[in-house]
Subunit: 214 residues, 2 copies
DNA sequence: CTTGGGCGTTGACCAAGGTCAAGCCGAGCC
DNA sequence: GGCTCGGCTTGACCTTGGTCAACGCCCAAG
């Protein structure tokens, strides 16, 4: 990990990122580098500037659950109380703005900052709840289809790129890499999506994808 | 549903329940009565006084995911933005305190109230994230074992009573009632728990239950 | 150009859990 | 008591997705 002390105008427009620019550090993380660790104390909050982040949780025997993926503009690390319940790692080389929670708290009262943190937490909860439904009640095919839908909706333009590998997708969806791979093949066979290499695709039949995603 | 306008000292000790006592209505819900509905506008917040509540989400073909269970002292209905993403129903005849969000907002600035709402939201998120791990990566037996553990930890004293039926457990854990039933039989066969009727049990071997729950 | 390693795909087989159907049990009712 | 109804359990069988192993592809290093 490397540090860069020079904030520059670049991030975004929200009050929060402005405050974080002022109070925070810029930090670079290499692909797969740990940002924070499950069960360690949580006193930093992170804003993704570029790259992407995953949060993961390990069972004692090594089974892994990916909690969520975070993209530029997303806040990471407020999902917890005093102890991180998930670890976070960079999906690819990433630049994050880091700020102490206690420093942010001095801006409590700054209504815009409060609201931004509140909104981010609310969104986090909504995503988790959506994820519950996917994990609990969808079939492998539906899981993969809804995952691709989500990505496609986030990106807007085609082609859509997958910032994560198959293992991360599998651990996010509660599947194995083999099953993810088979479902992708199947979706492609049905001309629902088309892959150009294994990290890039476009949607050929939105209606079908939507239907499969339930 | 019936209304009762006379607040009485009974609920709890938190600032929030005091405020809700003052601003809110007491409402009784019968078993399985709907408290609020998926996709409807969310402008009320509920505090469970007695009884219990489940939140559920339906897929178009009828598959159901139970999001969470709520017991006396828990806040229901802040899990959302403007639209409820889950429905809520009473597990048994229940008494809730109901208050308009907008009314609560007039207490924004009342630090104790703010903090209580914030804490409740944080807890909600933590529970959802714990639930993700269970749904994504645990086996049927582990799911049921961790469910019983959670209940046992919540209650403290034995015997522990199950306020919900098998279908609710199954929909919470992403299983079928048959599988839940089989796992309960199996746990009983292994002398890990002992059921006295299908809604009441005690833990015979805590170590074993803990180990099975992972 | 060749090699090797990492990641992804495919196939054959297996098992956990789902499905379907029957039976059981306790509670309320006549 | 006997009946009935709903919720729970059990059993036989089947399907989905997991496991294990082989193979392919791409790219970086030599």
């Amino acid at each position: 990990m490397t540090l860069a002390y020079a904030p520059s105008a670049h991030v975004g427009v929200t009050a929060l990122s402005e405050v974080m620019e002022r109070l925070g550090l810029r930090m670079n993380f290499a692909k797969d580098e740990e940002i924070f660790c499950q069960d360690e104390e949580a006193d930093l909050t992170y804003l993704v500037v570029s790259g992407a982040v995953r949060t993961t949780r390990l069972l004692s025997d090594g089974r892994r659950q990916v909690g969520s993926f975070y993209y530029p503009g997303d806040l990471v690390g407020l999902e917890t109380g005093d102890i991180h319940r998930f670890s976070a790692e960079a999906l690819s080389d990433s630049l994050l703005l880091v700020v102490k929670r206690s420093a942010l708290k001095t801006f409590a009262g700054d209504e815009a900052v409060d609201r931004a943190i509140w909104e981010a937490t609310r969104r986090e909860l909504e995503r988790a709840q959506e994820h519950l439904l996917v994990l609990g009640r969808k079939t492998a095919c539906e899981k993969v289809a809804s995952f691709l839908m989500d990505l496609a909706e986030r990106e807007g333009g085609e082609p859509i790129s997958l910032p994560m590998g198959r293992q991360d997708m599998a651990d996010y969806l509660g599947l194995t890499i083999e099953t993810v791979s088979r479902m992708l093949t199947q979706l492609q066979g049905a001309s629902v999506v088309e892959f150009d290499g294994c990290r890039r695709f476009r949607v050929k039949r939105w209606d079908a994808l939507e239907r499969l995603a339930e």
